[in-house]
C-alpha cells in the first residue's frame, strides 16, 4: 500500500521538476516566482474548498497575515529561518481559532462566507490605520497604508548574509510548491483526508458514522491557512515590502476566481488557475488599452458559462483513456490486496 502510494507520486513529481526547469526558458524567474506564489495560494483555497467543502471568502487574510508576520518577525529577529516558521504558524493558529469559532458554532454556507469576508476587511482596515508611531511590534512599525519595507528577506538558514533571491528564490518557491503538493496528495489518501472529502460530500452522514466533524473541519481549515501563510512568506521575500493591499477584497475574490478557472476537486487545478490568471494579469498589465479587472471579470463569466468545472477537470475528462486505465489498475490492485489478505 505504502510503496504503491510512493509509485503514484513519482510521475507527478518528475513532471513538476521538469516544468520547474523548463519554465525559466519562457519567462523571467522574477515573474515566475510570483506566479508560483499565486499557485501556492490557489492551492491553499483549493484544498479547503475543493476537498473540505469550505468556501472561504477571506483566504487573502491568511496570505497577508503570513506576509506581515514574516516581515515583523524578520525585523525583530534578523535571520530568516525562524521568521519564516512564524509566518506559517501565525495564520495557521488564527485559522484554527476562526475555524473553531465557525464550525463549533455550526455556522454554514453563507454565514461562513460573510464571517471570513468581514475578517479580511477588518484586517485591511486595521492595517491601513496603523500609520502612527504608536503601532509598533518590537522594532517593527506597522506603517499603515505604506506597509512595512526593509526587512530581512529569506536567507540560507544559518547564514544571514546569504540572501535567497532572483533565480534561487524561484527554485526555492517552486520546490516548496512541489513538496506541499505531494504532501497534500499523500494527506488526501490518509484516513483523515478521506473523511475530509466525505464531509464535503455529506456532513450529516459522516457525523452519524461517529466522526467529530467540527474538529476535522477546523484542522483542515487551519492547514489551508498555514499553506496560505507560506505563500505569504514567499511573497514577502519576493516583494520586499508588505502592504495592507494584501488583505484587500480584490485579492480575496481573485483567489476564488483562480479556483473556479483552474478547477476544484483536483489539486493541480487551483495551482494552474492561480498561475494562469497571474500570467494573464502580468501580460495585460503591459498594455493600457483596456482595464485589467474588466478582462478578469469577463474570463470568470466565460468560465462559469462554458467551463463550469474549470480547466484541469475538463482536460482530465477529455482524456477518458487514462482514466479508465487507472480505474482498471485500481480494481486490479484491490483484488490483489484481497487475495494477499486471504
Amino acid at each position: 500500500m505504502q510503496s504503491q502510494m510512493i509509485k503514484t507520486m513519482v510521475g507527478p513529481a518528475v513532471a513538476a521538476i521538469l516544468l520547474m526547469f523548463l519554465l525559466p526558458t519562457i519567462l523571467e524567474t522574477y515573474t515566475l516566482t510570483l506566479l508560483v506564489v499565486y499557485g501556492m495560494l490557489g492551492l491553499s483555497l483549493g484544498l479547503i474548498w475543493g476537498f473540505g467543502g469550505i468556501l472561504c471568502f477571506g483566504q487573502a487574510a491568511f496570505f497577508g497575515l503570513g506576509a506581515y508576520a514574516y516581515a515583523i518577525a524578520a525585523i525583530n529577529i534578523g535571520e530568516s529561518t525562524l521568521p519564516a516558521f512564524i509566518g506559517i504558524l501565525v495564520p495557521m493558529v488564527v485559522a484554527f481559532l476562526l475555524g473553531a469559532m465557525m464550525f463549533y458554532g455550526r455556522l454554514a454556507d453563507v454565514y461562513m462566507g460573510v464571517i471570513t469576508l468581514v475578517f479580511t476587511l477588518i484586517l485591511f482596515r486595521f492595517m491601513n490605520s496603523t500609520a502612527g508611531p504608536e503601532y509598533v511590534i518590537g522594532k517593527a512599525r506597522l506603517g499603515g497604508f505604506n506597509g512595512i519595507p526593509g526587512y530581512q528577506t529569506l536567507n540560507v538558514p544559518g547564514f544571514p548574509d546569504e540572501y535567497i533571491y532572483g533565480d534561487a528564490l524561484y527554485y526555492l518557491a517552486f520546490s516548496l510548491l512541489i513538496i506541499v503538493y505531494l504532501f497534500l496528495r499523500w494527506f488526501l489518501k490518509t484516513s483523515f483526508g478521506r473523511t475530509a472529502i466525505a464531509i464535503r460530500e455529506n456532513e450529516e452522514r459522516v457525523e452519524l458514522m461517529g466522526y467529530d466533524v467540527r474538529i476535522r473541519k477546523t484542522l483542515l481549515f487551519s492547514l489551508g491557512g498555514g499553506i496560505a501563510g507560506l505563500a505569504g512568506v514567499l511573497y514577502a521575500s519576493w516583494a520586499e515590502i508588505v502592504t495592507p493591499g494584501l488583505f484587500s477584497l480584490g485579492q480575496s475574490a481573485e483567489i476564488i476566481i483562480w479556483c473556479i478557472v483552474g478547477g476544484l476537486g483536483v489539486l493541480v487545478g487551483p495551482i494552474f488557475g492561480g498561475m494562469l490568471i497571474g500570467l494573464m494579469k502580468f501580460l495585460l498589465g503591459q498594455q493600457s488599452v483596456i482595464d485589467n479587472t474588466l478582462i478578469l471579470g469577463l474570463v470568470l463569466v466565460l468560465f462559469v458559462l462554458f467551463l463550469p468545472k474549470g480547466v484541469v477537470p475538463t482536460l482530465i475528462k477529455w482524456l477518458p483513456k487514462g482514466r479508465k486505465n487507472s480505474r482498471k489498475r485500481r480494481r486490479k490492485s484491490q483484488g490483489r490486496n484481497r487475495r494477499s489478505e486471504a
Binding site: S191, A198, E204, R205, E207, L208, V213
Partner: protein
Amino acid sequence: MADIILETAGLSMRFGGVTAVDNVDFQLRERELRCLIGPNGAGKSTFFKCLTGMLKPSAGEVFLDDQETTGWDPHRVAGLGIGIKTQVPSVMDGLSVHENIWLSARRRCSVEEANRKAGEVIDRINLGRLAYKELGQLAHGERQRVELGIVMAGNPWLILLDEPAAGMTGEEVEHMADIIRELNRNAAVIIVEHDMQFIRSIASKVTVFYRGAVLMEDDVSVVLSDPTVRDVYLGKKA
C-alpha cells in the same frame, strides 16, 4: 429477560407551541426488534431524532447502555456503537460504494481491518459488481442498501432505522427485510415505518405513536387487529 439497553424517561420535544413528543417512557432490550408506527405527525421521527442527538429534547432523559446521553451530539451517540439511518437517504454521492462503507468501518478499526470489513459488507448487501462505481449513479434502492451497509460496517449493537423501506420496490423491500433480520442477530433494532406490509413481514413488537404519546405497545398481530389503532390510522377519533 435481557438487559435494557435503551431507555427514555419523560422525553418531550416542543417546537414553539407544538408538542411533537409528549412525555414518552420507552424501553428497549438487548437484541430486540421494535417497530415504531403511527400516522403522519405522530412524533415518531422527532422521537427518533431525540435518540440520535439530531434534536435536543426539551425535557426528559435518554439512557443508552446505562449512560445518560440526553443532549449529546450525534457523533458521540454514534460513537457508542449505534448505527443510524435517516429518513432521506444520507450517503456520500460523489464517492464510490466502497469508500462510503470503508469510511464507516474505519471509525472503529484499523485501515487493514476496514479494507476487509468493507469487502465483507459489500458482499452482504450484494453490490460487489458496483463496488467502485460512484454512488450518485446508482438507483434509489441500491443507495438505500448502501446506507444500510454503512450502518452495518460500524458493527453496531443498536441500530436505528428511519423508514428503511420508503420508495423501494416489492422485491427490494423483501431483500431489506432479510438484511434487517440478519442484523438483528447481533444488534437491537428500532424501525420507524409506515409500510404495514413491511412491518408484518418482519413481525415484531410494535409501539404505536399518536399525537406525540405512546398509544399502545404490543405484538404486531395484536396491534394491527386493535380497533383503536385502526381508527387512528383511518383518521377517526381515538
